[in-house]
Amino acid sequence: MIKKLVDYLGSMGIAVSLIFSSVMADEEKSLKQLMSFSLEELANAEVTIAGKTLQKATDIPAAVYVVSQKDIRRMGATSIPEALRMVPGVQVARIDANKWAVTSRGFNGLFANNLLVMMDGRTVYTPLFSGVHWDVQDTVIEDIERIEVIRGPGAAVWGANAVNGVINIITKKAEDTQGMLLAGTFGTERGIVTARYGNKLSDDVYYRLYAKYRNQDNGVLEDGSKGTDGWDDARGGFRVDWQINTENRFTVQGDFYQGLMGDRANLLTKQAPEFRATVDRTGDVWGANLLTRWTQTLSDGSSHELQFYYDHSYRDSWLVKHQQDILDLDYQYHFFPLTRHNVVVGAAYRYTDFQNQTTSLTANAGLVRPKNSQDHLFSAFIQDDIEVIEDSVWLTLGSKFEHNDYSGFEVQPSARLRWKPNQGQLLWAAVSRAVRTPSRAEHDAFLIPDRVVQPGVISALKGNRNFDSEQLIAYELGYRFQPHETMLLDFTLFYNDYDKLRSFSPVGVSLPSQTAPLAAFVLEFDNQIKAETYGFEMAFDWQPTEQLTIRASYTYFDIQLHNGPNPADMALAEAFEGQSPEHQVNLLSSYELTPDLTLTMGGHYIDRLSASNVGSHLDIDVGMRWQVTKNLNFALFGKNLLHDERFEFRQVTLAPVSTKIEREGYLMLELKF
């Protein structure tokens, strides 16, 4: 069947290249024709398809991909990880109904820690393991304006953790979400209801309020029985935008959420003779955040931005019970000190307060000591975009400087060169250094994975105060080609050279005792692994007619680890290598049958994950959206149609029990007034 697909794609390729040559000539011709028009004729000229969305990202010297609200609707995505599935270079996999593994350019897992994720400028990762709890990252999906994804190091501007990518989820301004929206999604696996109301307080002050409830059904266990991983999430929030005057703008927004999710985990217990048990448990999470942002745009085009946020989160889950409070202050200044120089400077301070407790369940499996800790993070950055040759060559130089309580002072410079030989083409190259700073767990945790090394002997993982930052030097080369305004091709090649990646080194053996009835090999977090990753990412966007839109992407990824001397490192290396697919293909197309009726089809092929014991798979989604009246929109989606059920990802260590994703159908109703 794959061969067939390749044949079809091949024939499509020929069609595409034939169309190319005629399109290029056409553009010149139509412009000449327009110039000869009288004013009346010009006013009567027919506008073709809006190709605007395709042009936005074309000048950026990085591997950028934008998922628009339109794309989200076409996919029928009801959560943020789902909306990210189409992005080249990004791997999205569901572990169970409420847990996701999301990464860019490798190293995937529940605790994937190389990605910086932000919602409207608020960093949403937990410094506990430097990763993202995807189950609590949500908002009114209809209010998302776009999701910008930058693969590769974004460290020069964004800071630590933007090692392999930055995801920025941007919601619409309050003035763009006016009126009442009632939306519901009802299906075999999910049920979601949303209410959002937007209005204005005056001509300059707009606001919106929302409330949302989600229920996700249990997944399917290995043996075909139903899992216990269902998920409920309730949330609400607001946003106020105040255009104080033409130069100043002020935004306040906040959210509150609470969720309950089923966790099933294999854990070690003190119960002889097995010393391990499969435990079902309901995790409990809640959180709240408040953000304010002030933007001032001056008459010379320069701008100031000052942002402050507070973020509280609480999680009582299968592995840890912990609570964190983050206060963050950011300032940015964008200005033009000299002709041909476009400079952004910024400074930030972040305060994090942790409180950790042992869960009733894990006894001594997930300890973090000391229980309470306060971290301070100071950072500053500067970036200058220099026009070296007018209209043709630009050089972007920048660096981020930060000081954190774990690895101290860090410098993360980058240099990017872009060349625009003519309209519609861009060639860029970049070299960057980025670090993944140590997480709280790597310094202070004591973890007992459910691995019995041999009967009566287990392994234990110990935090290491000397654990250092993981380091990356990344080399990237990109080419963007827009042969016609309805078509965009984007190619990126990258080579990443990692040093000091996390490894585990044996530091001793603890003998059985009253409190710990099993002997344990004690391993400590260490920095003994080196790795090289390389890959090729391609995106193809095409809107051949006003009715038809195609977005396709292909990703090739490979990883070579050079492990340290310990057997534990070898196991870890294998796990890393087998958790990322070598090939990944995504396709999303939508066809407007009539202005009110749109059909969409999506397909994806994902290569096998050897470490996860998940085979390669091809799957298809279909959808239909119908604007019944001006106020009522109705959509029907079928997902994962080629399989009754399949695993997407299985975590190797420190793992909850994975469940299979099922074929599903759902209906979406949207009422606006």
């Binding site: 412009l31 190709g51 085009g301």
Partner: protein, 181 residues
């Protein structure tokens, strides 16, 4: 089952391509806008005092020259004249660069910068053009509105007058005219 679905997808993808002509007599929005800009140099009259800096040239100015519309504009004005004046494009970085511009074009994303520039522009015989419908209501002189599949200029006559500029009757006939500060 899966084969049929796959076939359906491929058919679905290929069908519109093979059955739809790629281009008719349609133009991109940016092409039409660029040609409008070109026409403004012709159909709007500037006082001679607007050209004291460079009497021999007419300057189109914009903050960003990488936008598709500016790229098209450069092609359009290449080698063209308005009266005896050569048409040229210049990128501006800030308000001091405005000297010698006859027309400044703002993209939707840049229109927040307009407010600050306005006082500087008012008495200086500079035409401000924006690519959105409400530009002429929000401090600019000419916006461009899309109605169905056609583009029309939206002109704030009063503000044009204040800047000492005059639109030809021909242009006013097909434009939407708005008032107000």
């Amino acid at each position: 089952m899966s084969r049929i679905l796959l076939g359906a997808v491929v058919w679905f993808l290929l069908f519109p391509i093979t059955n739809q002509p790629v281009h008719g007599t349609e133009f991109s929005e940016d092409q039409i806008k660029a040609v409008y800009l070109f026409n403004f140099a012709e159909f709007i009259r500037w006082p001679d005092s607007a050209f004291t800096e460079h009497p021999e040239a007419f300057h189109f100015c914009a903050l960003n020259e990488q936008s598709s519309i500016i790229r098209i504009l450069k092609k359009v004005i290449n080698g063209e004249t308005a009266g005896a004046r050569k048409l040229v494009f210049r990128r501006i970085n800030n308000q001091d660069d405005l000297k010698g511009c006859q027309l400044v074009y703002f993209q939707a994303s840049e229109q927040s910068k307009l407010a600050g520039l306005l006082p500087k522009l008012k008495m200086r015989n500079i035409l401000t053009v924006g690519d959105t419908e409400d530009f002429a209501k929000r401090g600019g002189m000419i916006g461009i509105a899309r109605h169905n599949r056609h583009l029309h200029p939206v002109i704030n006559v009063q503000r044009l007058k204040q800047a000492g500029l005059k639109a030809s009757a021909k242009l006013l006939r097909l434009a939407f005219v708005v008032d107000g500060e």
